[in-house]
């Protein structure tokens, strides 16, 4: 696996690990060398020097021994011989101690291969000579003990002297060799110190250089890409979305660079899209402006149309009113025609009766015809009177209906209005419809009676037309809180529920028979609204319709 494909953590671990290992190696090397130098110096101080001292001591003590031996030979009294013997025993002990010390140090030195061959040879020779000297000493002591002084001194000065000198020079040589060796060892230690110092320094420099190299690699693989990323991010922040980072490695930074590129691409696309949309939006705004202007134009047109429509509607209302009036006039004509016909025919009969009676009176002939004619005449007068009264009633209703028209605001009893309407509709209702009136004691209200009359007229007419053959219309008034309630219920065909919410629409009609009053309910609704009242229609198909009108009693305000 390539270094650049490693994760950041591994890169750092490898880098710093390498630096650590190099440093540790350098340290270990120097410590090892220092230990070696120390052990060499220790060798000199704890081995060579004490060894030299031991040899010197041996030399001193053997010399001392020999002096005591000479004194022993010279001594005459047993006491001094005894004393010298004790001194010599001590000296022998000391020499043995020295020898033990030396041999121990020698063994140590040998185990480290530091004991020189020259020293070994010298010491072996010394040992042999020392043994020989001791053998000679046995003979000397035997002679001395027996007070053969002459022979003893000769022995000491003869072969013993020679042996003593020999091992004495051996010992001196040993000291010399020992010193030389120690000096050499010190020199070696010094040499090693200098070379170790040089190598340690070199290692230090190498490790510093290596560390710098590794740090450089780390910087190259970690820090530099981060800097690149940072400057790229700055560029992006300043709006340059064409920045692309090279993806150099497979570590987190490499992934980051990849993600960064993706992000800038996405941002660029998004910006392009936004710009396109902005342009589109601008176009749309322009279009909207145009549309707005057109709309305004159309609005004005509409206003005009509506004004026209309103005029048309008013005209329509007027014409409808005229139509209604025509119908009414026709009904009323018929209504008036009947009694007038009755009056005319009865007057005709009466005239003839009067002629007959006149003839009889002129003939002075009183016969049975006179009472008969008088009777007829009486009947006719009564009939005519009734007919005349009827006509008078109709005319009064008509007058009431028409004379109270429009504008004038009055306080009236609405029962009168309902009655007037019923009277005017009598021709239509008479044979087919039974009208049941249930009038409660309700107060008079302020209103435009002419308009309300039209409402009653329309509602009653609708009710009448809803009844095909024969039926009942219930008219009921009552007081409900601050309103009066007028209820007009018919037993007619009813209104399908799908039409109920269209009832108050202008021009709605559910049947041919209603064509003429097509705008009836709508007109009624408008008038009731003008009076701040409410109107409600309940209907069940096949069973009939109930129209409820609520008018406020408090309605007193004069309209402007």
């Amino acid at each position: 696996m390539k270094f650049k494909n490693l994760k950041l953590g591994k890169k750092q671990l490898l880098g710093f690990g390498a630096i650590l290992i190099i440093m540790a190696a350098a340290n270990m090397f120097s410590i090892r060398n220092m230990r070696a130098i120390k052990s060499e110096i220790d060798e000199v101080t704890s081995n060579w020097l004490p060894r030299g001292i031991a040899i010197s001591d041996i030399n001193k003590n053997t010399t001392n021994l020999r002096l005591n031996q000479l004194q022993h030979a010279m001594a005459t009294d047993e006491e001094s011989k005894q004393l010298l013997s004790e001194v010599m025993i001590e000296l022998i002990d000391k020499i043995n101690e020295n020898l033990d010390t030396y041999v121990k140090l020698k063994t140590e030195s040998e185990s480290r291969n530091l004991y020189s061959e020259g020293e070994r040879r010298l010491f072996t020779e010394f040992d042999i000579k020392w043994e020989r000297y001791q053998e000679l000493s046995f003979a000397f002591f035997a002679l001395s003990r027996e007070n053969k002084r002459q022979a003893a001194v000769e022995l000491l000065n003869g072969e013993a002297q020679q042996v003593f000198n020999d091992f004495g020079s051996d010992l001196e040589e040993l000291v010399k060799v020992n010193q030389e060796d120690a000096f050499k060892a010190a020199l070696r230690a010094e040499d090693r110190f200098y070379s170790a110092r040089a190598i340690t320094l070199a290692l230090l420099i190498i490790s510093i250089l290596l560390s710098i190299f590794i740090a450089w690699i780390l910087v190259r693989y970690i820090t530099n890409p981060v800097y690149e990323l940072e400057s790229a991010a700055e560029k992006v922040a300043q709006g340059d979305l064409n920045v692309q980072l090279p993806v150099k490695s497979n570590d987190e930074i490499g992934h980051l660079a990849g993600s960064f590129n993706q992000m800038t691409n996405a941002l660029r696309l998004a910006r392009e899209k936004t710009e396109k949309q902005a342009a589109k939006l601008q176009d749309q705004a322009k279009m909207l402006q145009t549309t707005n202007r057109q709309l305004e134009q159309k609005n004005q047109d509409l206003q005009t149309t509506m004004n026209e429509l309103k005029e048309t509607q008013e005209q329509l209302l007027l014409s409808e009113k005229l139509a209604g009036l025509g119908q009414l006039v026709a009904g009323i004509s018929h209504e008036i025609n009947n009694p007038i016909g009755t009056v005319i025919s009865s007057m005709d009969v009466s005239e003839r009766c009067i002629t007959k009676i006149k003839n009889s009176v002129n003939d002075k002939k009183i016969d049975w015809g006179i009472p008969k004619n008088l009777k007829i005449l009486e009947d006719n007068v009564r009939v005519s009177l009734t007919a005349g009264k009827r006509i008078a009633t109709i005319v009064r209703s008509l007058k009431n209906f028409a004379g109270l028209d429009e504008s004038d605001y009055q306080v009236v009893d609405i029962h009168q209005g309902i009655d007037n309407a019923l009277t005017l509709l009598e021709n239509e209702l008479r044979d087919r419809v039974t009208v049941n009136k249930h009038y409660a004691n309700i107060p008079k209200i302020g209103c435009y009676p002419g308009q309300l009359n039209q409402v009653f007229m329309n509602l009653l007419k609708n009710a009448s037309q809803a009844i095909s053959d024969s039926g009942i219309i219930e008219v009921k008034t009552s007081r409900e809180n601050n309103n009066i309630k007028i209820e007009i219920a018919d037993s007619g065909r009813g209104i399908p529920s799908k039409h109920l919410n269209k009832l108050f629409d202008f021009g709605f009609s559910a049947g041919e028979t209603r064509m003429k009053m097509s705008s009836g309910l709508s007109t009624a609704y408008n008038i009731i609204q003008k009076h701040k009242g409410k109107m409600k229609i309940e209907s069940q198909e096949g069973k009939g319709t109930t129209v409820l009108v609520f008018l406020p009693i408090e309605y007193r305000t004069e309209r402007d």
């Binding site: 340290n27 270990m28 410590i31 090892r32 230990r35 070696a36 013997s85 004790e86 010599m88 025993i89 022998i92 002990d93 020499i95 043995n96 020898l99 040992d127 042999i128 020392w130 043994e131 001791q134 053998e135 000493s137 046995f138 002591f141 035997a142």
Partner: protein, 156 residues
Amino acid sequence: MFMPLQSRYSFRQRNRMKGIFPILLFLSIWPAGAFGQVAVIANPSVPVDTITNNELLDFYSRDIRLWNNNKPVTVFDLKPKGEVKEAFYAFLGKSTSRMKSIWMKKMLSGEGDPPAALNSEEDMLNKVSLTPGAIGFVQLKLVTQSVKVLAVIESK
């Protein structure tokens, strides 16, 4: 950090150990030796049948000069240097030179003279067989019925 130093020593020790093997091999195939084994011999009158090196050292350094039966102990030394003498002194654990020092001290303190040093192993055999309570040493192959063998020193 201390490992290199240690390993240096252990390396040396290994080297030494390696050195031992050829020596052991050499010893194992060498015929019982030019001189063979060394026997510690005694006059048949001595009241013991075996002896350890420490007991032997006590006798030779003249620290103990009487047997259990209060008969005097006589020890003999061999004059000629050689493998037999070396083997015996190695068994005692003292050098010939150091032994001389011990004897010199005994002499100076008046505790006795050094043992007689004989000129040959035949002399040694003869003297030991003739002197009651005597101890000496010769090659095992020279031993006769006239002496008692107290210990056999395995040759090196």
